[in-house]
Chain length 520, copies 2
């Protein structure tokens, strides 16, 4: 059985901390042990800051991009093996595992290409030089330079590969060394990934390290040049952001948190239409992919009252046809949740929702589970709730149910009502808008935007063109205000800014223009 270890200061070592068992969530069998803690964090920080950082900053963007391309191809070359650990330790279907692994490789590759495009520079200029005052002899210019600390990447259990890759791709391309902290419950994929990346021997010493176990002492030792990039629950994000050591030193903290993402239907969408078909595809996909354990999954479907009955009927048909069970069986389409705690939290949330919603489809634990030992596994059946009173219900706008569950919220169909309901979620990573009428679409898209990090538009010409809203893209920002954490990741070059500092250079024009060249 694998003994999983941290990779610090250039070596895998289990440390002197406790050994934590990792389970197969479909069978509850122990599949690996992770050695957590008992390591020298001070040495790891010095290794990153004193060796990894200077080595990365000495490279051009193009050279850093070449490293990312090699990381991407290393992952692609070992795709099947990584999918296996994802199924065995994460409880994902093969499709869910691919989504994570391919997402990781794709994101690294996208940033490899950005590095190539940014070329021989080491800093990102920000705009053209501006002339100051009369006479045109004094100028100013802004540029982003890599921070001189370490980027601590804290990832959630649901995307051990992709979550790491989107943070590492941007940090490394920016010129910052990383210490990755995977979630312990699903750390097998993260550790296997680390072993592959280390074996590929691509990165300079100190550029990549990985820590299993508690991250608190590491965070307490950070300073003003360091960065924390966190993905996880809104509550844990607030805890991280509130750590006195981080606040005292002004450590930059980026939080990407689960949120009450919505799908909004209106503007003339009719059952059976093209936009309707896309809606059905998206809702089922977002409810079931990775068993609904995605921070971008759709938690609320805001639908004109007249469409509730046909929507429930069609969704129930599709959800009822799903094969649920142990994803080691390749026919299975919906696996278990990742941990006992996730399952218990979800079912507690369902009990709260039952008070203000009707259950239109599903049960907490399906009676039939394929290839699962009796009574075992952290399973949750797909469930469709319908809010009795869209305005009175609080739970569906407040409690994130992190599983294959969504709530249909009936409303009038008026744009302002749709906007108000979306806003009640308090800040979302993504919201999708399904409409035939372009004015309706535009009004709602701009009206909800202050509450949403990414707005996905679907109309009658979208079938087969648009991607499901839960798909995070390297060229578009991933994050959202308020409840969603108030942070941002990715978005092309925007994603590098979190790992760099912006400085204004001011002085005689010739001197300023000499620093980064006269123009971009």
């Amino acid at each position: 059985m694998p003994q999983l270890a941290s990779y610090l200061c250039g070596a895998f070592a289990t440390g002197k901390g406790e050994m934590v068992p990792l389970l197969n969530p479909a069978t509850e069998e122990v599949v690996a042990h992770a050695g957590c803690g008992g390591v020298d964090l001070g040495a790891a920080l010095r290794f990153a800051r004193e060796q990894g950082g200077p080595a990365l900053r000495a490279l051009t963007f193009a050279q850093r991009g070449e490293l990312l391309a090699k990381l991407a191809s290393t992952i692609a070359d070992h795709r099947d093996e990584l999918i296996e650990t994802s199924v065995a330790n994460g409880g994902t279907t093969r499709g869910g595992g691919k989504f994570d692994i391919d997402g990781a490789a794709g994101t690294l590759q996208a940033y490899a290409e950005l590095g190539k495009k940014l070329g021989a520079a080491r800093e990102l200029v920000d705009g053209e030089p501006v002339l100051i005052g009369r006479g045109a002899k004094l100028a100013g210019r802004h540029a982003w330079l890599a921070r001189e600390g370490v980027a601590v990447l804290i990832n959630a259990f649901n995307f051990p590969a992709w979550g790491f890759a989107e943070k590492a791709a941007t940090a490394l391309l920016a010129g910052m060394p990383v210490i990755n902290k995977p979630a312990t419950a699903t750390a097998w994929t993260a550790v296997r990934l680390a072993e592959l990346l280390v074996a590929a021997n691509v990165l300079p010493a100190g550029a990549f390290q990985q820590l299993l176990g508690g991250v608190g002492p590491l965070l307490d030792a950070l300073g003003p040049q360091d960065v924390v990039a966190f993905t996880g629950s809104s509550a844990t994000g607030t805890t991280v952001r509130s750590l006195p050591a981080l606040l005292r030193h002004g450590v930059r903290v980026n939080v990407e948190a689960d949120s009450l993402n919505a799908a909004v239907v209106g503007g003339g969408v009719e059952p059976g239409s093209s936009a309707w078909q896309t809606l059905l595809r998206d809702v089922v996909r977002e409810m079931t992919e990775k068993s609904g354990q995605k921070c971008t999954a759709t938690r609320r479907v805001i639908v004109p009252e007249a469409l509730v009955a046909p929507l429930v009927e069609e969704l129930a048909d599709r959800l009822g046809a799903l094969k649920i069970g142990n994803p080691a069986n390749k026919e299975v389409e919906l696996g278990p949740l990742a941990t006992r705690q996730q399952r218990d939290d979800l079912h507690a949330g369902c009990a709260r929702l039952r008070k203000s919603c009707e259950v239109a489809f599903g049960v907490e634990r399906p009676a039939t589970l394929i290839d699962v030992p009796a009574g075992k596994g952290f399973f949750a059946g797909p469930m469709l709730f319908v809010a009795r009173d869209a305005k009175a219900v609080d739970e569906t706008h407040r409690d994130e149910l992190f599983g294959p569950v969504t709530t249909i919220v009936p409303y009038s169909g008026a744009p302002n009502d749709a906007i108000a309901l979306v806003g009640r979620g308090g800040g979302m990573l993504v919201t999708s808008v399904y409409a035939e009428a372009r004015d309706w679409c535009e009004t709602v898209a701009k009206g909800i935007a202050p509450w949403v990090g990414r707005v996905c538009l679907v109309d009658s010409k979208s079938e087969g063109i648009t991607l499901p809203p839960g798909m995070v893209l390297p060229d578009l920002i991933h994050g959202g205000p308020g409840r969603a954490g108030g942070g941002e990741e990715l978005g092309g070059a925007r994603g590098l800014h979190h790992f760099m500092g912006r400085t204004a250079f001011e002085g005689p024009r010739a001197l300023v223009e000499r620093l980064f060249g006269a123009g971009t």
Copy 2:
């Protein structure tokens, strides 16, 4: 004697809180009373969010810019009167008062012009549309939209006009209503300014309010669409940032804090040269303007050992010739500090510095003070310290002495030593580099940049061209990492981003391009 009042919900009212006496810091006479607290903060927040915000967001950038132009001209029209309050309540010389008032009008005017340039739009597009995937049918685009909350502006005692104007110009142009919180000790200028702006009747109802007294309860009531823009000490900035209500709701907090700004001399600068003359001008200006009470003032002068003696001699000559006293006398060039507390804090800091530094010039309280009653006034003499051992001394890199005081830190002249010494300040708003050799200048400028918000370059061709480093410019960012607060203000359109949220719009190309037009 003036009774100063908050301006909330469209009316000036002293509220039911305490009356606080405001002093003339040169004479300790009471010049006004401020009515602090005892007001309905909930009503003020609703007024801003429900009336001010929607009214501003309904305007285009050009229209918002027109409002700013009228505010700028209102201030310019009442310049002399505002300078008078600045002298009487702030203890500034007329020159120091002008710096604040003209800075306020100039910043508002600069953003008025930016509004005109941004034209008929209400949102800021961020980059061109990007095509996603193969087939070029799916596109994404980023745009900044105004946040739907209120911007709470917390300003320091030293810039009651400019500090307000730089925050208000950016917030109002972005489309956010403001509640300004001036420092109580120097609130007379802020209140007179508010009276003038209200009398000009330019802004929509709810767009501008002002609160005297404690801001804590207001901050506790903020939510995810609100913004706090703070200027003040690093310690108070950390306190604000650490408020649980702000952390829980992910309220955006921008901190601009005092810091240990440096001037670095090297790269072949000789006494008597052009760069040397600019250095002398800058150091004296930054030590004495507003009695050194500027967050951008130069606290450390990092100088090759061989230049210490001639630098001390020339600075002492200039500082020794200053006329110090009551700035009501127009001959006075250096006034008192703003409050008793500021004076006591400064003198405590001088006592600490005396342990590791020589006093090369000056005393804590000058013997001769023009037009000052015996023993009265919060005076501090200009003082020049020289660190005995640049590497051993901690105080000069750690303690900000907020007054007409600076420390000369001798060093080797090597770029890496200069960079390391600058970095010991832990994050600066501004650092100026005086060098003849362009390579030396470039190495040091880029080397210190991760620690500095704005780097000012001076060479042999700078005389009469460059501005003193303490001058904040609307086109360049104002802020800095770590100790300097980790925030940013101004920087042209960059300054609007703090009051807006960035959203990615994704969908069929035609739909995405329709939202904001096909190109910029």
